[in-house]
Subunit: 369 residues, 2 copies
Amino acid sequence: MIAKSNVYVVIMAGGGGTRFWPWSRERHPKQFLPILSDRSMIRETVDRLHSFVSSENIFIVTSRSQAAHVRREAPQIPPRNLLVEPAGRNTAPCLCLASLPIHRRNPEAIMVALPADHAIADRSEFLRTLGTAKEFAAKKDFLITLGIRPTAPETGYGYIEKGGILGKIKGTKVFEAKAFREKPALNKARAYLRHGGYLWNSGIFIWKVGVFGEAVKKFLPQLHGDMLALAKVWGTSREKKVLKQVYERCQPISVDYGIMEKAENVALIEAQFGWNDVGSWSALWNIRPKDLDRNAYISGNQPAGTRILAINSSGCLIRGEKKLIAVLGMKDTVVVEAGNVFLVCPRDQSQEVRRIMDGLKKKGWKEYL
Amino acid sequence: MIAKSNVYVVIMAGGGGTRFWPWSRERHPKQFLPILSDRSMIRETVDRLHSFVSSENIFIVTSRSQAAHVRREAPQIPPRNLLVEPAGRNTAPCLCLASLPIHRRNPEAIMVALPADHAIADRSEFLRTLGTAKEFAAKKDFLITLGIRPTAPETGYGYIEKGGILGKIKGTKVFEAKAFREKPALNKARAYLRHGGYLWNSGIFIWKVGVFGEAVKKFLPQLHGDMLALAKVWGTSREKKVLKQVYERCQPISVDYGIMEKAENVALIEAQFGWNDVGSWSALWNIRPKDLDRNAYISGNQPAGTRILAINSSGCLIRGEKKLIAVLGMKDTVVVEAGNVFLVCPRDQSQEVRRIMDGLKKKGWKEYL
């Protein structure tokens, strides 16, 4: 059993605000929305880790424009554990940055990396799975990723193909990650589901900080060199300047594409804790409670409560804020009031809201972005 | 040619606010909405009569709650020409009431009665038709109604069957009205359209005030007696009290059902002036200008202009007010922001908005009615 003080969690909280527009906005992305309960997603993510690690051992990586908001949502995290990227460069630079202070504090650290804006239904199963992963990471020099057992032929997720068994931790098998697959077409997704040997890529990683460093050195040598330079000035007056230089120079690249897909020592743990990345209004409809007509409702937190009246309507996701939302005879439609915007679209086109944002940019209507 | 001073127009402006909810409200019915242009329907109706009769000869019948608003919308009408009903009792009592001051001023008067909230596309043809009707009314003791040549198998209108020719005014034939038909089922409406001998019942009537009085006496004797009693106190201190008593006692009945369907001396003039009673959001979509995707837009009169963005959407009617309305991938849908309400429904169900109002009443949410 590895000591709790050796485990560090990195919460990646740098996402943009496109998928839940108009509720999410450029300066108010999904992680700050109370999408699943009356608490923001990032607050739920932090709270979910309670008892797994102390707040001292939780790092949050975010952007400059979101830092103040993150601090408000996660007041228990020590300010020095909030890492602010000068620019968004996808997950590989983000996790390299986080690994610097972790490595400095504890070169033997086990690092758990996860996004701030995922839904997890079963907290205790989630923590049990992380526990399994950290035990395996302590034992073997692997990059571990959690794969979610698919429940539908999702085309919006990446898939990981299970390989042979690498070992067992308290009865849970750890597999070799044989191959990473991009978001598939529907027929391929169906085949993956039937086959049973493919898991959804959750974007949750567990590794020894040193093992991760070795992988960066091997597959992203330039980034590794830059980060070494940054490590040398970490905590000094030059840190900020070098950080900015590194981020100006480095290319955006995901840890999946940059490292996981290339490395030989990638392990896969099959997880079933009711995971959902809640990547669209439609995904949110899927996981929200529904009435007998399969309508799901989200209330703005008005004192009087939001008023919604749905008549002869089914399969709708309706969010009200200040006005009465009256929906008559609609099927499978997303109807959202948020701030200065009303949105109406079919549920199965809700992943296209970005097209509206593009349209707004073209017209110069920036106050709605 | 009959003298212009002998012609009086009665505008019936007592309608409720259900069909264009939430734009129309109980206290702000359709006739006050700028549905067709930037002027209210009642203002358009009054203005349309300019040159046909002087303002002195225009009467407006309305309800107590709407009287002040009517005065604002029709400032050119003398205040004594505004007749306020103590309660809504449909068109027969309404037109009886209007006939009292008209008969007192001019027992030979020709009275034209029309609703305040109809759309008429071709004003000069409208006035030409009224001119034909008044000439025929002057010549013969008939109750005249305008029938609209159908352009579609409408199920929302009543129909009138043409009978034999009664005469000709400046080349326009005047027909006997053979029978009044209730709103038909679709297959019947189609048969009417094919047959060619059925016209839409416009609710526009022309008659000598005395001829109308005779018909009321014959078919609605109790109402006639009550109105005689009211006529005796007209202009005295007792007028208000008797008016209230009459309206408390009288049954709601339409002039179509109470008189026109029963009388023998009913004439029909075929009209083609682009008439529409604009009885639903769908009807409004039909007559509004549309973009290439057949979307129609209505702007609230905000200083900055209403902002609407429709992407990959067609056949929609969209009204914005203060917020951006963003519509993505919707077909044939009504999307309306008005005051404290946002409404979404399929265009072909927009005549059912009353169901929403019923739902609001049940919940006690009166502030939205």
